[in-house]
Amino acid sequence: MKIAITGHSRGIGKACFDLFSAEHECVGFSRSNGFDISKDITNIIDQSLDCDVFVNNAYFEFKQVEIFNTLFEQWKNKLDKTIININSRSKYGGGKNQFYASTKKELANKSYNAMFSDKSCRIININPGYVETDMVAQHIGKFKMLQSSKVAETIKWCLDQPQDIEIGELSIWKTTLR
C-alpha cells in the first residue's frame, strides 16, 4: 500500500512512519521536509490523492478538521481508501487545555457525520491517551504514558483488518493513568 502520514518526523507520526515503512511505501509530510499544515493543505492533499491510506496525524489548531473534510470529499466514494484520524482522549473532556480538546471534539464530530453519510471509504479514529512525545514532555512524571510505538502497532492492527471491517473508533491509553 501507499501510505501518506502528516507529522511523520516526531511522536506518533514517526512511529507510524517507521513501522509501516517496513511493509509499505510511505510518504511523510512534516515541517522538517517543507510541508506545514498551517500553511499549505492543498499541496499535501494533492500529493496524497494516489495513496491508499492517509494518516491525519499532525496537529495545528483546526487544520486536522480541514484536512479531513477536504480529503473525505475526494475519497468518500472510493472503497479502497482509508483515512485514519489521530484524535485524542481529550475529546472525551476533562483535560486542562480546552482549546485543544475543542479542536479534537470537532474532528470527532466531523468524522462521525462522515461515517453516517453515504460513503465507501474507511474512516478510522484513534484516540490515544498521554503518549511519550515531545508535545506532552512537560507532563512526564505526573501521568503514566504510552509509548508511541504501541499506538503505531494498534493503528497497524486496525489497518490490517479486512476491507469490509471498519474500526471506526479506537481509544487506547494506560490502564491506570496516575
Binding site: 472525551y92 469490509d164 471491517i165 471498519e166 474500526i167 471506526g168 479506537l170 494506560k174 491506570t176 496516575r178
Partner: protein
Amino acid sequence: MAFSRSKARLKIAITGHSKGIGKSIFDLLSKQHDCIGFSRSNGYDISKNTDKIIEKSKNCDVFINNAYQDLNQVVLFDKLFELWKDDNTKQIINIGSKSKYYPFNDEQPQLRKDKRSSKSYNDNKKSITHSIYSKQMYLIKKCKIITIHPGYTKTDFIKHHWDNINMINPDDVAEIIKWIITLPKHIEIGELGVWHPTEIE
C-alpha cells in the same frame, strides 16, 4: 516491536452467551479459556438475577457484559466495577452499540423495524456509555474497562435486515475481543467501534 501477548488461560464470564455476538464470543474464547455463560436459557435473566450473576462471576478474570435488557447492563457494570475497581488483573468488557453515535432519527428507514430503531434502545446504549465514561475517565481505578460498539451484526436480533444492510459477522466481533483480552495489562483499549464500512448502500 510487537505487543507482548498474554498466553494465560483466563476465566471468562459472558452474559447472553446463547445467541448472537455472545454465542460467537463464548464459542471462540472457550477454545483457549474457561468460559461461564449466563443466559435466560440456563436460568439467568439480567433483568432479575444480577446479584446471582455477579456472585458467580466475581472470581473470573474477564466479564463480558453483553446481554441487553433496558438499562440492566448499567446495573451489572456498576455492581461489578465496585468489586473489581482496585484489581489490576480484571477486565470488564461492555458490548455497546454503534447506535450510541446516532442522533435518533425516525426518518431513517433502515432503523424503523427493529429494536435498534427504538429511541429507548439508542438512549439506553448512550446511557450505558456515559455511565462507563464517568468511571473510566474520572475515577482512579485499576481494572480495565473496555466498551465495544458493533454496527449492524448478522444476528437473529435483526435478521429481517440481512438482505438490505451490509453487516459484520458476530465472529468478527469475537475475534476483536480475543485480541483485546490478551493485550498487556498496562494497555487499555477504552473504546472500540466496529462496523461494515458501507452499511447502507
